[in-house]
Amino acid sequence: MNNEFEPKILAFVCNWCTYAGADLTGTSRIKYASNVKIVRFPCTGRIDFMLLLKAFANGSDGVIVSGCHPNDCHYTSGNFHARRRWMLFRSLLDFMGIDIRRIQFSWVSAAEGAKWADIVNETVASIRELGPYTEYRKAADFLADNEAELAKEMEVNNG
């Protein structure tokens, strides 16, 4: 067993393009890192920004969000809505110091099996480089176990 850090990554993808694209990666037997687990959504428009934060809070070190290319959305415009949402969300997170390098957005069509493998591999490599996202998790682990932690919390509470 090597000791290299294995990042945990969740991928939020739409059913019609990227999920199918990842299916194609499979049928083409293109190998990629096993760190990524796919969550299937009907459309990128469906992906709630809170789910990205929840993923981080619960131990993900990175998140991939992927859907149909612009103009290819199965629902005509879900990805356009999503794109706006990510533009604002991303800049807000950046302003708050949340590490946006850990969120990789992409458009992967049903025909881009190889692109999917590339995106996964590149993301895994870059997150491996960044290391585990402990800062965020630490903030999430409020009241972890003991009284000392609570005292610290009380301190900031009253600071």
């Binding site: 009241l143 003991n146 000392a148 009380m154 009253n158 600071g159």
Partner: protein, 335 residues
Amino acid sequence: MERKYISHNSLMNWLTQLNNEGNQIYAPVAKGNKTDYKHITSVEEISMDHIQTTQSAKAVAFPRTEKLFSYTKKNGDVTLQNFDTTTIPETVVFGIHPCDAAGFKPLSGIFNWDTPDLPFNERMKRTTLIAVSCTQCDEFCFCTSVNGSPGNTTGSDILLTPIKDGYLAEIITEKGKSLVDKHSSFFEADPNVNKEEYLAQVPVQFSLEELNKKISNMFESPVWKQQSERCLGCGACAYVCPTCACFDIQEDAHGSSGNRLRCWDACGFSLFTMHTSGHNPREMQSQRWRQRLLHKFSYMPERISVRGCTGCGRCSRACPVDMNIAEHLTEIAAL
């Protein structure tokens, strides 16, 4: 009650000493234009220029979020880890004002009303309150209208009143006495001063007697609606209040383990009384405002014989729309 003198330097040394002995010291620390209690590591951090800290010190015994117990589920069995009292540190709170110290009494009344509350009582047991009398006040202060005063000793373990270069120290409780006795070298003899001369002059704004007489019988009064019109329904007043003790119980669940948390809640929130059925007995802001005042000035005195207000004025200062409680009480007293 014992009276002593302590110079400013000695006071600082004493606090340093207490800190070195492993007590957690909370004291007012200024940041920007706000001052609030903070766990200090050095007496340098202490600031006493404020009239009132933004928040009361109640979090020392009633933290905004507190883990009551935790659990783990495994193969259908549940294991509980109870509230562990042994890890609560010895705590000294320095620099609270008499109105804040007085707040611990109603708090204690609530937490011991029926079943004694273990976390609260255990924290209180390990907490010593060193209060400082007020030498200044502002237009929001009204302790004198609710039977308090800038030099009131109720609730404090030790009350310091600033005089010349030092303080008159009134040692009120056994807890206070033991803390002083342990370090008696810092203290000098009773300075024999008239304490009143050094205190702030807080004008009486309304007659408590009149208020008491009226408030219990005015559940149906139109005044509540009129007073509460501008109230936005946030929880700022309750959260800064030294006596507000409402809490909610929440589940911090992580798969098969989790924590049961107690966290602050406020009767001003519209959902505070919302039933699962969708029915809300306090549907209107006016009803919630009435609840807030009646609870403090009618229900609490009736049930636990203590008023839920110490006249600190924090709620008025914190209110985004200037719901000045003293002004409203004055209005009621004059009805």
